[in-house]
């Protein structure tokens, strides 16, 4: 079965890849991902804060107590010999590049137009075949105007595209007033594709201690629906430029995402739960399903159920929402 796909201009043997996660942090695991047949590998995100803030503070806690007391002029082996900055990410990327032959997609996560964006070029130079720019922006102030938030993101994309030649995908959140319009502006600024969607950190509340508890849970299959809807809406305009990310736990999910128009399908939670080899299983099941259902190639299925191709497109739109609500009411 021909499972080939094109994502961000990369010719891939099939659409399945591990999404941004700690999975390829170790060379050994990255090799296992490759062995399991990953079409590409997305590295974990390098955060703006890691580049800007965190390393200042890490340095401070090592350097702060230095040269204060005659018996202990320092408390650690020479800090100069430790790369406390984000360089180990680049170094790791270089090592992966040398050892892994599938495309490597590096990920940058931040929100502001700042010096950290220059890392895009460093990532490219270290061997990234593409970049994922994760714009996780959480407005908390009433001074943060929606237009301004979007404008800054567009400028970030423009700035990054200005410095790199590799393709850049923007990983978005679903919460924009008009995602199609915003996507169009990002595309205008040079975005080569979109990853739908990033998953928000949703803090819990400890009611005894009266404090917020930051938590990051693995995705649930239900989360796929939101992705399917927006993939279906956007894929007509961005063929070969969309990746599904979040909520894909089985081959059914993969098939749905592809039908909705994904060019690539990113999996993380399922691999963390079932192990890296599950990637192979997903590909085999995808292949079997296509064969059983007499598809000639994967491309035949891609986008078949999007807003343009779906026999009942209203299901993705507002009219259907009204009908569902009313039908439930009538039960």
């Amino acid at each position: 079965m021909d499972l080939r796909t094109t994502y961000l201009g990369l010719e891939l043997p099939h659409p399945l890849m591990p999404g941004a996660s700690p999975l390829p942090d170790l060379l050994d695991r990255a090799r296992r991902l490759e062995d399991a047949g990953a079409a590409a590998i997305v590295l974990r995100s390098l955060f703006e804060e890691q580049i800007v803030q965190d390393d200042l503070s890490a340095g401070l806690h090592v350097e702060g107590p230095m040269e204060s007391y005659a018996e202990a002029l320092s408390y650690f082996p020479s800090p100069e010999s430790f790369a406390l900055g984000p360089f180990e990410y680049l170094e790791h990327l270089r090592r992966l590049r040398a050892a892994i032959s599938v495309p490597l997609i590096a990920s940058l996560n931040g929100t502001t137009l700042g010096g950290w964006l220059e890392y895009a070029q460093f990532l490219q130079d270290a061997g990234a075949d593409a970049l994922e720019l994760n714009v996780y922006r959480l407005p908390v102030s009433d001074q943060e105007d929606g237009m301004e938030v979007e404008r800054e993101t567009v400028e970030m994309v423009r700035a990054v595209k200005h410095t790199v030649r590799v393709p850049v995908a923007v990983k978005l959140s679903p919460f924009y007033t008009s995602l199609p319009a915003f996507a169009a502006r990002l595309s205008g600024a040079g975005a080569d594709g979109f990853v739908l969607f990033n998953r928000f950190l949703q803090p819990d509340i400890d009611v005894e201690e009266l404090r917020a508890v930051p938590q990051m849970e693995l995705s649930h299959p239900e989360e796929l629906r939101l992705r399917l809807r927006w993939l279906a809406i956007l894929s007509g305009s961005y063929p070969g430029r969309l990746a599904a990310s979040g909520g894909i736990h089985d081959s059914r999910g993969v098939i749905k995402a592809l039908m909705a128009g994904a060019a690539a399908v990113q999996v993380v939670s399922a691999l963390l739960i079932r192990g890296i080899d599950y990637l192979t299983v997903l590909r085999q099941e995808l292949e079997s399903w296509l064969t059983e259902h007499e598809y000639t190639s994967l491309r035949q299925m891609q986008g078949s159920m999007n807003l343009a191709g779906c026999p009942n497109p209203g299901a993705y739109e507002r009219a259907h929402y009204m009908r569902i609500l009313q039908s439930r009411h009538g039960e």
């Binding site: 942090d25 170790l26 060379l27 050994d28 580049i51 800007v52 390393d55 200042l56 890490a58 340095g59 401070l60 806690h61 090592v62 350097e63 702060g64 107590p65 230095m66 040269e67 204060s68 007391y69 005659a70 018996e71 202990a72 002029l73 320092s74 408390y75 650690f76 082996p77 020479s78 800090p79 100069e80 010999s81 430790f82 790369a83 406390l84 900055g85 984000p86 360089f87 180990e88 790791h92 010096g115 950290w116 220059e118 201690e209 009266l210 404090r211």
Partner: protein, 1181 residues
């Protein structure tokens, strides 16, 4: 020929650079001031740097210096080239092996940063008392007086030992040379190889033990042979001086730096000569040149090879014209005819028939006491008259008791032509020293410039003041003393103007650079009047910058180092401005480049903004300010504190005469309360309405600066305005008030109290019962409140429940120590004094707890209103368990005798006698009752008028039980003192051992101990420790009869208090392992309690109590005070730089060690869970 390579480095690095290259095995152990040599060797090995022959040396950290000496001895016997580094007490521990190594004629060279031996007090500073204790071991002793010499003579020593078979102790002065930064010419590998290669190494290898050519060494010999065999090595010593000179000549031929066994400098027909060794010879050299130029016939004889002492070479070096000679020893040998070098010189002159020379012997420079030109001049002056006035003298102090000291004209100040001298005052935390070290390296890069940097630190670990002394010039700098007159003075912290005389060393017409948090127009009026007067009197040019603002604006936080460094270059003119700015930027790039471009950019922005913010300040003709410098101690301080402590705090301790001091090192307690340090920018403010009176803040306060009290409501009548008080929430107490009060001038502002405060406003949980607010505006009122708070009565010990809350209502008898802000150890020590302080004896191992517990000027252990409090002593590092056991034995002996006497006197004492003997002392009430009985007994004893009654009067107080606590860190308990600890636990005696476990040697700067956990980066574990922490709790539990607890006060405070009480009540040995966050863990210690919680919840630090008493009832002795671990160790580890450094530098190794740490935590828990189910059969009667 290649041009020589220069480097700016300190004496430790200079010596280590040669030693490392010349060695195959290095066995080391940290001790100030030599630790750096071992650390460098370890770091070089970790980065794969080969030795001269392309091999990677084996560097191993041992459990003590004794262990290091044993290991090098073994390595040498097996034919390796070995070395070690040490100082002071460490050197003493090596002496037994030194005799062996020398007796076996073993080629070996060790390097010593010579340091004071602990006598009436410990001192980390430099003198020759340690090396002088080795002069009988058979080691050759070679002395270096400067950084260059430490490098050169290290090579000479390594070469000479291989050629002669006599082992070498190469030494240089601790701190003065070991820590002085200077520019030196490096010895290239080729020259070192040339000096070391040849038959020496081959012969050394051939002497190595191997089963291929078996030999036997270390026999036991008897009266028939030992003596002759001991004399058999004589010829090696006879030949040695020539061998050393030959190595010196070889070095001299290659480098142009000529050395002699005894180097004479001065007038060829000198009449007055000073003989000495070490760095003091350099200051003397400088003065001699000055005096000779002035026409005086003086000279200095520098002793380099001290052992074997070559009479022949000594006499040859001494000018024939010498009429009087002063021999200066940097050591003291009480009761001897004279100090060692003096005796050697007298004997040599006698043997050489030069008895006509008048010889005097003087002591100087003990514990790094300054030895400067006026003192040298005083020595020459004393030799002036034909027959010297004193045969034995001291110089550098005022001895008003035995009148041995020479008068010194401190104003005598020979010029230092062509030099720029600069002095900088800063805080440890502001990066002043780092910036100055950097400036020295920048200037030292110029081939024509010579540089020198020396740095003085105060005795506190939080808010410590640093003074940097820098010299730049064209000629060699021999000034082995502090800058006496500076053309440039900088004060990097405005508040220091009020506590230290920062202009004391300012030269007339010099520049004064001030970091002032005020607009330029306000700066002059903000200065204290005394400073204004100095500026005017000395015609100083004043410049000011608000460096804090520049730092904040540039995103650098409070690090002002590069900003002040830029100002220095701009004002001092030592380099053209553009070149200086480019050089500073290059240095920033080098230092921070590995940290990311952002921090580099921020520093660049700060450097660029600096010059715009630097302003000349117009100096009016006279002073205008009404503000004055602050007295060092508060007005209510007692006489001793006013006279002695105050002078020490003000930096005038050097001026105190001998008569000011106790003769035996005994020091008054409770003096830290008079030093008002005012180092907190913010202090906690209490909201009595939100407060739930849990007292957790007071419990975890590292400095005893936030305290709780309960007192009768009526006492509030005299409260000053604004004093806060609320009703005590307790059913048992009626009409009782509660106050939580901060000591505003003693608080360090760490914020731990606010962090642990659980009392939140329900409507706005961000608001807690404590919040940090700026100190300055609150100070006047808060000072009054604190004073009133202290005047309130303390709670009655008998009426308070000894739990978390109740313990904090008792006065801490350990307060305002010099520990780090946020220290994780001190809350335990403070708790100890609250629970048992009025009957507590503490044996304290050397380490952080002995330093913040007993490092002068001030003493934090104090007394309660009755005058009782902890009696504290520090013996050594290695013997603390035994030291504490000795205290127990003494107490037991006193008690036994007292009880026997009571029994003997029972007919006279009546029923009270039996009550005294049968007294239950298991509660505070019962103890109070026994105290009353003892008081009544004392009242009755005089009337009995018998020898027994008189003896009982001496011992009666011991009828009230005392509590012996043996306190120390993990370096002591897990490593150097483990043998003693093991023995004391096995003794079964009633002692309590508190291990303040920071999992690293904290006091000496973060070297790994056997308590360091898997995955942590530490010195000597640069790549992260691969083996698990030693499980001391399980070792002790295995003994069966030891009470054992593992506690973390920030995680489960109630368990900690309970463990302390149980340990104390247990009638045998107890061991408490107390988890202690430390700055060596690399995070903001305000999060210390949270990290403790994570350590516990992740199973990294399980909380447990093992009480052998439970066996009697058939209960399992081990109780786990926590649920099964519920988080991953990764969460705990991810918050601390000690782990993250590995994560960032070597992710693969980190991942492997993290997995190992997880496995260990799980395994530890699995074992403990099973042990906690094990109960022993109850013995049937």
């Amino acid at each position: 020929m290649k041009s020589p390579q220069h480097a700016v480095l300190d004496g430790n690095e200079a010596a280590a650079s040669v030693a490392y290259r010349a060695s195959e095995v290095l066995a080391i152990y940290p001790i100030t001031p030599s630790s750096t040599m071992g650390e460098l060797a370890d770091a070089w090995a970790a980065e794969g740097r080969p030795n001269l022959w392309g091999a990677l040396p084996e560097v191993v950290e041992m459990q003590s210096e004794g262990g290091a000496a044993g290991a090098v001895h073994g390595a040498l016997q097996a034919g390796a080239l070995a070395t070690t580094f040490t100082a002071s007490q460490g050197l003493l521990l090596m002496i037994p092996n030194m005799y062996k190594i020398a007796g076996e004629l073993t080629a070996f060279c060790m390097h010593v940063a010579a340091r004071t031996l602990a006598t009436h007090a410990l001192s980390i500073f430099g003198d020759h008392s340690d090396v002088m204790a080795c002069r009988q071991t058979g080691f050759a002793m070679l002395a270096s007086g400067s950084v260059q010499e430490a490098h050169d003579l290290a090579a000479v020593a390594h070469a000479a030992t291989l050629r002669s078979r006599v082992p070498f102790l190469h030494f240089f002065d601790g701190f003065r040379t070991s820590h002085e930064l200077a520019k030196i010419v490096l010895l290239p590998d080729a020259l070192l190889r040339e000096m070391l290669d040849g038959s020496g190494i081959l012969a050394h290898r051939e002497r190595g033990l191997t089963p291929d050519r078996p030999q036997l060494r270390g026999t036991a010999q008897n009266p028939d042979t030992f003596f002759q065999a001991r004399e058999a090595a004589n010829s090696y010593y006879t030949a040695l001086p020539a061998t050393v000179q030959e190595a010196m000549d070889q070095l001299g031929a290659a480098t142009g730096r000529a050395y002699r066994l005894f180097d004479y400098v001065g007038h060829p027909e000198a009449e007055r000569v000073v003989v000495l060794m070490g760095s003091g010879a350099e200051a003397t050299h400088e003065v001699v040149e000055h005096l000779v130029a002035a026409g005086e016939k003086v000279g200095v004889l520098k002793v380099r090879l001290y052992r074997p002492f070559s009479v022949e070479h000594f006499l040859a070096a001494l000018p024939a014209t010498t009429r009087s000679l002063a021999v200066l020893d940097r050591t003291k040998e009480p009761g001897a005819v004279g100090e060692p070098l003096y005796q050697d010189v007298v004997a040599a002159l006698h043997e050489g028939g030069r008895e006509g020379i008048a010889v005097t012997g003087g002591r100087y420079g003990l514990s790094s006491k300054e030895f400067d030109p006026p003192m040298v001049a005083a020595v020459f002056d004393a030799l002036q008259a034909g027959a010297p006035a004193r045969r034995h003298f001291t110089v550098g102090i005022v001895d008003d008791v035995t009148h041995l000291s020479l008068p010194v004209d401190a104003a005598w100040n020979p010029a230092e032509p062509g030099r720029v001298r600069a002095v900088f005052y800063g805080l440890g935390s502001d990066g002043t020293v780092s910036a100055n070290k950097n400036s020295i390296k920048i200037l030292g890069a110029d081939p024509d410039v010579t540089v020198q940097g020396y740095f003085v630190y105060d005795s506190k670990k939080s808010g410590s003041v640093t003074t940097s002394h820098l010299r730049f010039g064209k000629d060699p700098i021999r000034s082995s003393y502090l800058v006496r007159e500076a053309e440039f003075v900088a004060c990097h912290q405005f508040p220091l103007l009020f506590t230290i005389d920062v202009l004391e060393r300012a030269a007339d017409g010099g520049v004064f650079l001030l970091n002032a948090p005020y607009p330029a127009g306000e700066v002059w009026d903000r200065l204290p009047r005394e400073v204004q007067e100095r500026i005017t009197a000395r015609h100083l040019r004043l410049f000011a910058i608000d460096a804090g603002k520049v730092a904040r604006d540039s995103g650098l936080g409070h690090r002002i180092n590069t900003i002040m460094q830029t100002c220095f270059f701009a004002l001092s003119g030592v380099l053209p401005r553009e070149r200086a700015v480019a050089a500073i930027k290059a240095a920033v790039e080098k230092t921070y480049g590995a940290r990311g471009t952002e921090i580099v950019k921020k520093n660049f922005a700060a450097i660029d903004a600096t010059l715009a913010g630097l302003h000349p300040i117009e100096v009016p003709p006279g002073p205008t300010s009404q503000a004055h410098v602050r007295p060092p101690v508060s007005e209510d301080a007692p006489d001793f504190v006013q006279r002695v402590t105050s002078a020490m705090l003000a930096g005038r301790g050097d001026l105190l005469p001998v008569s000011a001091f106790p003769v035996d090192g005994t020091w008054p307690v409770g003096t830290s309360r008079y030093e008002k340090r005012n180092i907190a920018q913010e202090i906690p403010v209490w909201d009595q309405d939100l407060c739930i009176q849990c007292n957790k803040c007071a419990l975890l306060c590292p400095h005893a600066t936030i305290r709780a009290k309960i007192y009768p409501q009526a006492e509030n009548a005299g409260a000053p305005p604004g004093f806060r008080s609320t009703a005590f929430k307790s059913r048992d107490h009626v009409d009782v008030a509660y106050t939580l009060q901060v000591a505003p001038e003693d608080c360090t502002g760490c914020g731990v109290c606010v962090e642990v405060c659980p009392a939140k406003d329900k409507a706005n949980p961000r608001r807690k019962a404590l919040r940090m607010e700026p100190q300055e505006p609150r100070l006047p009122a808060a000072r009054e409140h604190w004073s009133f708070f202290l005047s309130l009565p303390d709670a009655d010990r008998a009426s308070v429940r000894l739990d978390v809350k109740g313990s904090q209502l008792l006065p801490p008898l350990f307060e305002f120590s010099g520990a780090c802000s946020g220290c994780g150890e001190t809350p335990y020590v403070k708790l100890l004094t609250q629970l048992f302080g009025d009957r507590l004896l503490i044996a304290n191992a050397t380490g952080c707890s002995s330093i913040y517990g007993g490092n002068l000027p001030t003493t934090p252990y104090t007394t309660n209103r009755e005058g009782r409090g902890p009696a504290w002593s520090n013996s050594l590092f290695e013997d603390n368990a035994e030291f504490g056991l000795g205290m127990r034995l003494a107490l037991d002996s006193h008690v036994r005798q007292a009880r026997a006497l009571v029994a003997q006197l029972a007919p006279d004492l009546g029923e009270e006698a039996q009550a005294l003997l049968d007294a239950d002392q298991s509660s505070e009430g019962a103890i109070a009752a026994q105290r009353e009985r003892v008081t009544r007994l004392r009242q009755r004893l005089p009337a009995l008028d018998s020898p027994e009654a008189a003896r009982l009067a001496q011992l009666a107080d011991y009828l009230v039980e005392k509590s012996v606590w043996i306190v120390g860190g993990d370096g002591w308990a897990y490593d150097i003192g483990f043998g003693g600890l093991d023995h004391v636990l096995h003794s079964g005696r009633n002692v309590n051992i508190l291990v303040l476990d920071t999992e690293v040697y904290s006091n000496t700067g973060g070297q790994q101990s056997k308590a360091t956990p898997t995955g942590a980066v530490a010195k000597f574990a640069t790549r992260g420790k691969a083996l698990p922490k030693k499980d001391l709790a399980r070792i002790a539990m295995g003994m069966g009869h030891v009470y054992v607890a593992q506690v973390a006060i920030g995680a489960r405070d109630a368990q900690t208090v309970r463990a302390f009480l149980e340990a104390e009540s247990y009638p045998g040995p107890s061991l408490i392992l107390a988890y202690s966050p430390c700055i060596a863990h690399g995070y903001d210690l305000v999060h210390g309690p949270e990290q403790q919680r994570l350590a516990v919840e992740s199973g990294v630090w399980p909380l447990l109590r093992f009480d052998p008493r439970r066996n009697a009832t058939g209960e399992p002795p081990l109780q786990l005070d926590m649920q099964a671990p519920k988080t991953s160790p990764a969460v705990f580890m991810g918050n601390e730089a000690r782990f993250r450094m590995l994560e960032k530098s070597d992710p693969a190794r980190w991942q492997a060690l993290l997995e190992e740490a997880k496995r260990e935590a799980a395994a530890r828990w699995a074992v403990l869970e099973q042990l906690a189910r094990v109960s022993l059969p109850v013995p049937t009667p």
